[in-house]
Symmetry: C2
Subunit: 363 residues, 2 copies
């Protein structure tokens, strides 16, 4: 029995729209996860209350391991200010000196040592999760389809071989696809969309987002439907059709339900193509004999399953396999699939923290 089994460790992924947290014991068993929608571009105070809720729900923890991406929010002047202010909120909530923040080199630092490390703290959550995955398998792709973005990370010989480190380079190399499961405004997906066999230019308004698409296609379960809608109205099939209709300059009453479903399907296909293409590029970079694992996470991981199924079919070989990230995690039984998928980054960061501390005999 390990000395740390009864100790509790906390992992937090502090994103720009969502905060995810995972509680792990010293045997690396995940005890609990929390996913809180925290849209702090309106008001930074909500970060404070979400973190307090996590602290109070999870109780006393030995160490808190943090990864963040929220510093990119436009509530901050720049990423440096973002890292500083978010860290200040963190240290206000977790008063213990046992707060540790992840760096790009997979080391952790104390908040007291922020200076000089700002750019190394920004945008680390994808690295946490993909590094975690790289320890469990040899070759493949780590895919995280979150509310706002998608990570497409190549892993070779158990190493993360992503080229981009910051947001800009990651965008350029298609390792960060700025397309998500629920928050993405439909106007950003394309300039035109096929409706009734004609290509219609989209209205450039925040009328609808991908949450509407997956609500209409019945791929967005209630548990994951946690953000507000574009018009602030209901999270129903009908209200989503209403929002979707506006994108092409129509009212819901101008077409029937099957036509709105078809239109939703066409928007879905744009996201599918983006993710599919990025995966295919990586798959083709491997030797044809290589066994490739595609590991999926994120609130939209059910959608990824659909996309990967098509990809594996298209490849027509048996060397490519799909593995949900759950397969790599030691979990308390009552934690559900969608919770693991959504909070994978928080689980990963606490797992990495424990590994590092154990290797340094801190635990």
């Amino acid at each position: 029995m390990s000395l740390a089994r009864h100790k509790r460790f906390l992992g937090i992924d502090l994103g720009g729209a969502n905060i995810k947290a995972a509680l792990m014991n010293g045997d690396k068993k995940v005890i609990k996860t929390i996913h809180l929608y925290t849209p702090f571009w309106k008001n930074l105070d909500v970060v404070n209350s979400s973190l307090k809720k996590i602290r109070d729900d999870f109780g006393e923890t030995e160490y808190q391991f943090i990864t963040m991406t929220g510093e990119l929010s436009d509530v901050f002047k720049n990423r440096k200010e973002g890292v500083l202010k978010l860290t200040k909120i963190l240290t206000g909530v977790f008063t213990t000196p046992k707060l540790r923040i992840l760096l790009h080199n997979m080391q952790f630092i104390s908040p007291r040592k922020l200076k000089g490390n700002f750019s190394s703290i920004a945008s680390t959550n994808w690295l946490a999760t993909s590094t975690f995955v790289s320890k469990k398998m040899k070759n493949g792709i780590f895919l995280d389809f979150g509310s706002t973005t998608t990570d497409v990370i190549p892993i070779k010989n158990s190493k993360v071989i992503a080229i981009g480190k910051n947001d800009h380079e990651r965008l350029f190399h298609n390792e960060l696809l700025y397309t998500g499961f629920t928050r993405t405004p439909l106007m950003s997906l394309s300039q035109k969309i096929v409706f009734r066999k004609r290509k219609i230019p989209l209205m450039a308004e925040s009328f609808a987002n991908t949450g509407d698409i997956y609500r209409i296609l019945n791929l967005l379960p209630k548990e994951l439907d946690i953000q507000e809608t574009a018009d602030g109205k209901e999270k129903t099939f009908t209200a989503s059709c209403r929002r979707l209709a506006r994108m092409v300059g129509l009212d819901k009453e101008n077409a029937d339900v099957s036509e709105w479903k078809k239109l939703a399907e066409n928007f879905y296909k744009i996201q599918e193509r983006l993710i599919y293409k990025s995966c295919m590029k990586i798959v083709k970079s491997f030797d044809p004999e290589t066994e490739i694992n595609i590991v999926t996470a994120g609130s939209g991981s059910k959608v990824l399953e659909k996309i990967i199924k098509n990809l594996i079919l298209a490849l027509g070989n048996k060397k490519t396999k799909h593995l949900p990230i759950r397969n790599f995690i030691f979990l308390k039984k009552n934690i559900r699939d969608y919770e693991v998928a959504s909070c994978a980054s928080a689980i990963a960061v606490v797992d990495l923290g424990l590994d590092l501390f154990k290797s340094q005999n801190i635990l």
Copy 2:
């Protein structure tokens, strides 16, 4: 001397983000204009206060002639509800029975006769302005580059020959380009943008809009810079560069001013191409010997001048001319160019109302 010279008539264009109004006397001289930023998708009450301000500023008027497009806002369930609710607010402010609403057939109706006319009331402002222009010239294009959208309307033999009547058809036929001078989110303009000679996928966030582009390019004068910014921060060159940088996953500090200017220029070029292409298509539909007038209006009409200059250069003939809409309007001297351009639709609707009433001997 006409009987109506000392009477006052009001024209209002009730848009989804802006309300424009023009006061005209019976000799069709424009006495005054007002342009009020009225973002009512957040709260419908602002429509009421903007209309009251217009009523109080302009004083007693004989008739009020209304054109609207605001019914498309997602504060309403659909366009029908939009027309109904906006009309209700109008009748609450202008208690006289002399309120008249424009229909697609260029007739006006009293608010009491709304029933059965909803779809004929929706989206008429482009028709008002282009019909007004069509009375003044034979062949050409009417261009209105507003805060949110651009109208590109062909006129042949003094007739508006646009194909689309509703928003959906107008989008399809490129007669309504959903791209504007200030409100358009940059994420809607393209999936990628050239920065430092590389095509960078855009962040799908409401980080910046076209107002930032024209602020950086020094084409957005203070008088027209009336809407809030994407992050709620300053309307300065520096703050606009900050917002622009976020679109490609960077901070302002990551590049120098000349690079942000170049990036802004690249976004501008996307809008330029859209407008240029739609105009060129119409120009080419005319017989090569035809004299073509391109008439410009809208808050962004200075930008249109730039685009048309290039178009005329590319055509290399002397048959195509640019005319600002001001040339067709009888104005009180103190009204400035940008006021006429911005409020052209309001001027047009009151002008059309007066023409019709005179022809029917109502005045």
